[in-house]
């Protein structure tokens, strides 16, 4: 007789997913890892875990590919099959929190792509009721800027931002996916006020980016794993829409707390002078994209 399955429902980005396992130790790991994101909402999706005791390595590249209608996600330390039509999948992995995080990130990236959202390699935080995103290459200062945040700023993540379209624009959600800060984000959400691409320099300043440069930088930092043309087309369309609706700037900053004064004042001046949430119409490519 099969061992009974025990379930923890984890809701990230407003999407509740039932994670089931027959392994008590793994269930405890799930509950502890996603403590702030456990939910009593009816799950939209289900993911069953078969916990393996065979040691494995996680240094392979992630591969995400199609097998008929299913998605196959694999790395040295996990193998998962996901059927998006019925919203169910099965994962084989060791009781390893890093594998668990990776599987959930991939799954959310696939679900979000269908819904016009995406995961972004960026820190995000709520300030005065609006969320600000801080993206950039490794070492650009994502963790630094979150460390410098005033006490009244709510951290959503220092590593992976969760973005979904919302009325009039986009909303950022907190995620449990932590970077160097090793602290999960708060489980809350706020409309996106701006995305900053970070660079460190001798002074604090905000510079414009052209639309094409903004899309280029955005695409470089969106997390997607599948070599799938349909998915890339959707993400490119989403990136263009995001650029049309959200102010995107380059933020050069000197690493001290004054950079947050600039973020505050940018948010206030932008709200006064513009209404960027009314989308511009961008021409689509005929018959191809």
């Amino acid at each position: 007789m099969a061992a009974p399955q025990k379930v923890a429902c984890v809701e990230i980005g407003g999407i509740p997913i039932a994670l089931s396992t027959s392994d008590d130790g793994f269930l405890a790991l799930l509950r502890q890892r996603y403590h702030g994101f456990l939910s009593s909402s009816p799950p939209e999706f289900e993911l069953a875990f078969d916990v393996s005791s065979t040691p494995s390595v996680s240094d392979d590249d992630i591969r995400v590919s199609r097998d008929g209608n299913d998605w196959i996600m694999k790395r040295g330390d996990f193998h998962a099959r996901w059927d998006p039509r019925i919203g169910r999948g099965r994962v084989r992995q060791t009781a390893n929190p890093y594998s668990l995080d990776s599987v959930l990130r991939i799954l959310h990236s696939l679900i979000l792509a269908e819904r016009g959202g995406f995961l972004l390699h960026s820190a995000s935080a709520i300030c005065d009721g609006r969320s600000y995103l801080f993206s950039g290459i490794s070492g650009a200062g994502k963790t630094t800027i979150t460390r410098l945040a005033p006490a009244d700023v709510t951290l959503l993540t220092d590593e992976i931002s969760y973005l979904r379209p919302s009325a009039g624009g986009y909303a950022a959600f907190g995620t449990p996916f932590a970077g160097e800060l090793a602290r999960p984000g708060e489980n809350c959400t706020a409309p996106v006020a701006a995305l900053f691409f970070l660079e460190q320099g001798p002074e604090n300043r905000v510079d414009e980016l052209s639309s094409s440069e903004a899309v280029r930088r955005l695409m470089r930092n969106i997390l997607f794993f599948a070599e799938d043309n349909g998915l890339v087309e959707k993400l490119l369309a989403t990136a263009c829409d995001f650029v049309a609706r959200v102010p995107i700037r380059r933020l050069t900053f000197y690493p001290d707390g004054r950079v947050w004064d600039l973020v505050h004042s940018f948010g206030r001046s932008f709200e006064r002078n513009f209404d960027r949430n009314s989308a511009r119409d961008f021409q689509e490519v005929p018959e191809h994209a």
């Binding site: 052209s210 639309s211 094409s212 899309v215 280029r216 695409m219 470089r220 070599e227 799938d228 043309n229 349909g230 998915l231 890339v232 087309e233 993400l235 490119l236 369309a237 263009c240 650029v243 961008f282 021409q283 689509e284 490519v285 005929p286 191809h288 994209a289």
Partner: protein, 101 residues
């Protein structure tokens, strides 16, 4: 058919989007990303696999932009060669059938 007749078609393994007068093109296989200017966009959009490149340059480039025809043809061939090397365009001396994904 002339020996140097070149036909170009867009690869099916790309995503493309027009934004603020420029064309963003991304290769799905390796995530390389290109931004095309107005002239390059005109050539890219006309790459239907059965219109010769020389005709595209004559009608879509020389007809709409103030350029020297010989220079435009040379630039177009260079552009096509570059995008072809990145898997964005398919190039042939014969007409090309549209690729199916």
């Amino acid at each position: 058919m002339p020996e140097d007749c070149i036909y170009i078609a867009r690869s099916s393994a790309i995503a493309a989007r027009a934004l603020a007068g420029e064309m963003m093109v991304m290769n799905s296989a390796d995530s390389t990303f290109f931004t095309l200017n107005e002239v390059a966009t005109a050539i890219f959009q006309a790459a239907d696999g059965h219109t010769p490149l020389r005709e595209i340059v004559r009608d879509r480039v020389c007809g709409q932009f103030d350029v020297d025809p010989e220079q435009a043809q040379a630039d177009a061939e260079q552009f096509v060669t570059e995008l072809s090397s990145h898997g964005i365009l398919l190039v042939s001396h014969q007409p090309l059938a549209p690729e199916t994904p």
